[in-house]
């Protein structure tokens, strides 16, 4: 092998090792029978079993899915509408662009504090519904950006052809535009879902006091204060597996429709 190619291959391995070694260790430990990070005593799924009977974790899981599903549905509809509206504008406005994408880059902690102040100022009771509302804010920006990327390559003469063949604007949208961009809408929605499932800071600030609206990342955080238990390894592995799967589907969908 050429020495330059060898060097670049070694660098590649090192970089990916750096990125994924901690995760690999985590996954391995979650299957460690002893539960100790120091010694491997055999393969076991018992930590996963103990998760399944842990009422707190089940409750947090339920909350997480409720939040993620509602935030995803709302942000997918609104984000798609925003994308369509912004692409339909003939004159592009830089201010509008910046405003639409700001939630993606504003630090979570800033958004979290801002939301908490606003919600308490308005005397809104905190709970799952406020987490949903807060997640919609940044999810929407991600959905919008994925759908807009697709719309950039969308051939608007398809809509004109549809009108020309006798369809109204409304019919043309549902029969032509929507099916053609649907993979991107789903991809955006899946991305929003994984972001919602993983999100900690904003949920932590807007969940309110008490354990009733605790989500999985918050649950893991509260458990970790008493040390990393093997159960947390198992839980983190599951969350990661779910996110990775959804992200892969999302990427695959986005690639499909480029052809």
């Amino acid at each position: 092998m050429h020495s330059g190619a060898l060097t670049s291959r070694i660098i590649l391995v090192l970089v990916f090792g750096f990125l994924y070694l901690p995760i690999a260790v985590l996954v391995a430990l979650s299957f460690n029978e002893s539960g100790l990070p120091t010694s491997w005593s055999g393969f076991s799924t018992k930590w996963y079993m103990s998760l399944a009977v842990n009422a707190e974790i089940l409750h947090a899981t339920w909350n997480t899915f409720v939040v993620a599903i509602f935030a995803t549905l709302i942000s997918t509809v609104l984000g798609t509408m925003l994308a369509l509206g912004m692409e339909a504008r003939r004159r592009k406005s830089n201010t509008l662009e910046a405003l639409a994408f700001a939630p993606m880059v504003i630090p979570d902690i800033v958004l979290a504090v801002a939301l908490l102040s606003l919600l308490s100022r308005l005397n809104i009771t905190l709970g799952l519904h406020t987490i949903v509302l807060s997640h919609v804010i940044f999810d929407l920006a991600f959905v919008c950006s994925v759908v807009r990327a697709r719309l950039k390559s969308f051939d608007y003469s398809l809509v004109e052809a549809s009108r020309d063949l006798g369809a109204s604007g409304w019919t043309s949208f549902w029969r032509i535009t929507f099916p053609v961009i649907l993979p991107a809408i789903i991809a955006g929605g899946l991305l929003a879902f994984t972001l919602s499932v993983d999100e900690f800071i904003i949920a932590f600030f807007t969940a309110g006091a008490g354990r009733s609206s605790i989500t999985l990342p918050m649950q893991i955080y509260s458990m970790i204060r008493f040390g990393v238990t093997p159960e947390i390894n198992a839980l983190a592995t599951l969350v990661m597996g779910l996110s990775a799967t959804i992200l892969l589907i999302s990427q695959w969908l986005n690639r499909e429709q480029k052809a």
Binding site: D155, S157, L158, E160, A161, S162, R163, D164, L165, G166, A167, S168, T171, R175, I176, P179, V180, A259
Partner: protein, 348 residues
């Protein structure tokens, strides 16, 4: 005006500006029933804008568009009795060929049986029956072009608009499709309006054609009229090959170039003038009065040979067309004398 005299489509003083550019500048045209009409011009001449105004995708700044005497300019695209075949074809990528054809008829809320029958007929006449279940991305360029055409034809519009329909095809296929389009137009009995920048295509296909430049209509007429009697120098240059010679007319039906005198139909003078003559109307003469030229190249074109030459004293370029055998007698560098067919010369 009685209905039999009324044109199917009347474009009346139509105008459209984009910002400061006058894309279409007061164009008026009458297009008859069953006519194959070509809108021809260089890119940016306004022909596509005019077509899009007919289809309803651009609003009019002024003027009217009438079909059978009825003003259609306020109507949205879906309410107009004409269909457009898009340059990009604009086939619906998520639908099969058959579904693409069904779409327009479903919008008319026709019964399923009628749709089935009409789509089957159209698929057969455009030779697409075997491809009915394919998706657009499984078709070749020529096949996509036929689907786009079929999708518009199945609607049985009064007028079919075609935007550079053959632009994306290679030369061989284009020539075949030109004849195919003419056949389909004849069979369907529909008025075709085709936009093209290819003058040869317009000459081959059109019953009548219009030449546009900078949004203005320069000339409308049959291909013969436009080829034989171009209204101005631009049209003369745009259609076919034309020789232009700078000289003057002296007021006695005579055009003088390099001291050589040629009879022409125009009398008014004396003034500076440009003589326009097609290569096939230039001949070689023994007469002393002929225009002296030096041959610069003899180009073989199969059926004929084209002699490129320069006038001996003023060095103006021109060409003439001879049969391949006749042309063989001449060689580069040779001095000859030329005469022009007086009836075919035009003075600008």
């Amino acid at each position: 005006m009685t209905s039999s005299q009324m044109p199917l489509l009347r474009i009346d003083q139509v105008a459209k500006s984009f910002g400061k550019t006058r894309a279409v500048d007061g164009v008026s045209l009458d297009i008859k029933e069953n006519e194959f009409f070509a809108l021809l011009g260089p890119s940016g001449c306004g022909k596509t804008t005019l077509l899009r105004m007919l289809a309803g995708f651009e609003t009019l700044d002024g003027g009217k568009i009438l079909i059978s005497g009825k003003d259609i300019s306020p109507l949205p695209p879906e309410k107009r009795p004409l269909n457009l075949m898009f340059q990009s074809y604009a086939l619906f990528p998520h639908m099969s060929v058959r579904q693409n054809l069904n779409y327009g008829l479903e919008m008319e809320r026709l019964p399923r049986k009628t749709i089935r029958r009409r789509v089957d007929e159209t698929l057969a006449s455009t030779d697409l029956t075997t491809l009915a279940d394919r998706k657009p991305d499984q078709l070749s360029g020529g096949q996509k072009q036929r689907v786009a055409l079929a999708r518009a034809l199945v609607k049985r519009p009064r007028v079919l608009l075609l935007d550079e329909p053959l632009g994306a095809l290679d030369k061989k296929l284009r020539e075949r499709m030109q004849l195919e389009l003419k056949r389909l137009q004849h069979e369907a009995g529909i008025t075709f309006i085709i936009v093209t920048h290819d003058q040869e295509e317009a000459l081959v296909m059109a019953d009548r054609m219009a030449i546009l430049k900078d949004g203005k209509l320069l000339q409308a007429g049959t291909p013969e009229q436009i080829y034989e009697e171009p209204a101005d120098r631009f049209v003369a240059n745009f259609i076919g090959i034309m020789n232009f010679l700078d000289g003057e007319i002296d007021g006695t039906h005579t055009f003088v170039v390099d001291g050589s005198r040629h009879r022409v139909s125009v009398k008014h003078g004396p003034r500076k003038a440009v003589l326009a003559v097609r290569p096939e109307h230039v001949s070689i003469t023994e007469s002393a009065d002929g225009l002296g030229v030096i041959i610069t190249d003899v180009a073989y074109h199969g059926l004929d040979r084209v002699l490129h030459a320069r006038t001996s004293s003023s060095g103006q370029a021109l060409q003439l067309r001879l049969s391949a055998a006749e042309g063989q007698k001449y060689a580069t560098g040779q001095a000859i004398k030329l005469a022009f067919n007086a009836d075919k010369c035009r003075i600008y």
